[in-house]
């Protein structure tokens, strides 16, 4: 029994080494990518859960472009699509943290590019205040990301997700210190 376990563990380490090397000469050459590979075969390493709230016209389309351009990025993000960043209620962010998200990303059109002319300006102001409140009440600002990603910025989206995944992985699981987390104080 023990022997079997040991053998399995040994194999997985070998596989990890192989995959790491493969990723090293991967054409994308992304560091974060390399790390993902290292991580996946070692069960102890933590895979962050990232919830992204994005607008339909810029960032969602930017993520589409990352896809059509076949840019590889970390599979840790789950996108919730809204028509506009203006639709993103602070309650969404709270709810995502409540549900155990390790990080939340909010992303939309660059200033001036909003499909609805000014939804992103409203959102920008809302976040400027809300993030101060989150920070002050103990949410680590290394867990909340705001970005502008246009429909033309597929590469920026891929880089962003890789960067966030790497940062949050470095920061570790949020469960212990997340004040919004469900069942934190039993």
């Amino acid at each position: 029994m023990l022997k079997q376990q040991f053998a399995r563990r040994f194999l997985s380490i070998c596989a990890a080494g192989l995959r790491t090397r493969r990723a090293d000469w991967d054409r994308t050459g992304l560091m974060a990518e390399t790390e993902t590979k290292k991580v996946e075969a070692t069960p102890a390493v933590f895979e962050p859960k990232i919830v992204a709230f994005v607008c339909n016209w810029c960032t969602y389309a930017g993520a589409d472009l990352a896809g059509t351009s076949r840019l590889q990025y970390a599979p840790n993000v789950r996108i919730v699509k809204l028509p506009c960043t203006g639709r993103i209620d602070p309650l969404f962010i709270l709810k995502a943290f409540e549900g155990g998200a390790d990080a939340v990303l909010v992303s939309g059109c660059h200033p001036g590019d909003c499909h609805y002319t000014s939804g992103n300006y409203h959102a920008r102001r809302r976040w400027a205040i809300f993030r101060r409140l989150l920070e002050f009440t103990g949410i680590d600002m290394r867990r909340v990301f705001f970005s502008w990603v246009s429909a033309a910025e597929g590469a920026k989206f891929a880089d962003l997700i890789n960067r966030i995944t790497a940062d949050v992985r470095a920061a570790g699981p949020f469960e212990r210190t997340n004040p919004a987390r469900r069942r934190l104080w039993k």
Binding site: R124, W127, S147, R182
Partner: protein, 270 residues
């Protein structure tokens, strides 16, 4: 004439003249100060006003049972007057809905129409600011690590029994159905524990961002002594710094959250 005598005289006069049907002021109950609804001139003598008057009486102008009494004259401190201006800017009060018995800092400004409140505030109380102790407290907390802050607020919010006294005391919390009462979907858990307490207190503060006039009635009303003003003032300072506006000075003001400026802060958006 003593300030309180002038106030009582004005209260009696507006009732006697029929300019108001009810005066909303304070009465003494031992050390405690409770609201008093005076409907006849002869009872105006029971009115008191001193530093122990923590409640913001502007809150009553929106209550349907008070509205039934007829036009009110409300005793208001500068912070409460700012609440009145806020309510005007949010179309909750209009020109002749109420009269104001304006109690200033160390002086009494007499009976004002609602339209006279904002000019008085701008002239005399433009520099109304939170207490230095409170600001120091905020600074101290902000300097801590996120974990320490989370622990601090965890301890505070754990005390919350969800009695919603803070909400009832606040003139800005006038929604007939509060977000916490919305149950399809239930964004904020109503159980008096953990994440529900966090979400409730955070969202309450957020809904007052750019609207809190700093009267402190919510904190005074909290039976558990949760330092709510730390949150309210933090956001008030933030709004003042970033968007150069203070709640309750301009009856024509646009809502801070609900307007924008192309130059708004965005260095946090990468």
């Amino acid at each position: 004439m003593e300030m309180i005598d002038a106030l009582r005289a004005d209260a009696a006069k507006v009732l006697a003249d029929g300019r108001a049907k009810v005066v909303i002021g304070y009465q003494a109950r031992g050390d405690h100060r409770a609201p008093l609804f005076v409907t006849t001139a002869d009872r105006a003598a029971s009115l008191v006003y001193d530093d122990a008057c923590k409640q913001n009486l502007a809150v009553y102008l929106r209550k349907p049972e008070v509205k039934l009494l007829g036009k009110a004259a409300v005793v208001a401190s500068p912070a409460a007057m700012r609440s009145l201006v806020l309510l005007m800017s949010e179309s909750q009060l209009t020109g002749d809905d109420a009269l104001v018995l304006a109690v200033g800092v160390g002086e009494y400004h007499g009976v004002l129409e609602l339209a006279q409140v904002a000019p008085l505030l701008k002239e005399k109380y433009a520099a109304l600011a939170p207490s230095p102790e409170l600001l120091r407290e905020i600074e101290k907390l902000a300097a801590k690590t996120p974990e320490e802050r989370a622990a601090f607020w965890a301890k505070q919010f754990a005390k919350c029994t969800r009695c919603y006294a803070c909400r009832a005391a606040c003139p800005g919390c006038y929604c007939t159905r509060c977000i916490v009462e919305k149950n399809v979907p239930q964004w904020i858990s109503t159980a008096a524990a953990g994440h529900g307490n966090y979400a409730w207190n955070v969202i309450r503060a957020f809904h007052l961002a750019g609207r809190c006039t700093g009267c402190g009635a919510c904190e005074a009303a909290c039976p558990q002594g949760i330092p709510l003003m730390l949150l309210n003032v933090l956001l008030g300072q933030e709004v003042e710094k970033e968007f150069e506006t203070k709640a309750g000075y301009d009856p024509e003001a646009k809502p801070v959250i609900g307007s924008w400026n192309p130059e708004d802060e965005e260095d946090f958006i990468k």
